[in-house]
């Protein structure tokens, strides 16, 4: 069935993947090698947009957590959970690309530099968010606890950022970007942000579907218990 919504979704992802293809092409062919660092610097084109998107996802989680506490509507909770899940995925990419960069540029997989430490702590903050959700069984309690943690975690982010700047930064990087590099970077920002938004919406939809599904199951259980043999035609959950 080709509803306008489905057409939009397909077009959206088509555009996003096409942009990724173009962006990858730009990294291979168009972007020049940086003088001091050589080809390694090209990791930057993926690393920075994903880092910014991580922050955006965390922001969405924060707003959704606030929204839930104020309005107590379950879709805020679903949105917060979706945003946090996407943030964890994005932050894992930031962390890993950062480590690969560190290994290739300075020979070490890990240093307690401000950037790497910040990525690690941010990742942990939101992994904990997801684990909190897994650990609380009652739906409503889970939503409240997650929302409060979501708010506190986000408020913590600038404090983490400030505190890690006190750590020794043995390899400070200042990258001078030539014009083609700036263009390549911009070329990467678009598909990454589109992907982030798309992932959050997709996960949000999945959360909503799962919520409705378990609500239906709960209903079934109670009606089956109280009434006679009820025949529910159709597929299993």
């Amino acid at each position: 069935m080709c509803t306008p919504r489905k057409i939009f979704i397909r077009a959206y992802w088509l555009v996003t993947f096409a942009l990724f293809a173009i962006a990858i092409g730009a990294v291979i062919e168009y972007a020049p090698d940086e003088e001091t660092m050589g080809p390694i610097q090209k990791i930057f084109y993926l690393h920075l947009p994903v880092a910014i998107s991580t922050f955006l996802a965390c922001l969405v989680c924060f707003i959704a957590s606030l929204g839930y506490l104020v309005q107590r509507k379950t879709w805020w909770d679903d949105l917060a959970a979706a945003a946090a899940r996407v943030a964890v995925q994005l932050c894992a990419v930031v962390l890993l690309t950062g480590m690969i960069w560190g290994k290739s540029a300075w020979g070490q997989w890990w240093t307690w530099s401000p950037r790497l430490t910040f990525s690690l702590v941010l990742w942990l903050l939101y992994v904990v968010y997801l684990t909190v959700r897994v650990s609380v069984e009652s739906g409503q309690r889970r939503a409240v606890i997650s929302a409060i943690y979501g708010i506190i975690a986000f408020l913590d982010v600038p404090l983490v950022w400030l505190s890690v700047r006190l750590m020794p930064d043995i390899h400070p990087e200042s990258i001078e970007l030539a014009a083609p590099m700036k263009l390549t970077l911009a070329l990467w920002f678009v598909p990454v942000v589109l992907l982030t938004a798309g992932l959050i919406v997709a996960k949000f939809n999945l959360n909503q579907i799962q919520r409705k599904r378990s609500a239906v199951l709960e209903d079934e259980k109670s009606t089956a218990a109280t009434s006679g043999p009820l025949h529910w035609a159709g597929g299993a959950a």
Partner: protein, 41 residues
């Protein structure tokens, strides 16, 4: 490992995690929708 190898590694892992997750979401959503459509027939 040369610099270029590291770059390729970074992109493969990075894009793999992102696009792979997109694929996971897509499959999961389709599975749910299939289940739902089955029950409505």
């Amino acid at each position: 490992m040369t610099g270029t190898t590291f770059v390729i590694l970074a992109y493969v892992i990075g894009l793999g995690l992102l696009l792979g997750y997109a694929a996971t979401l897509w499959t999961a959503t389709r599975k749910h929708n299939r289940g739902r459509e089955g029950s409505e027939s």
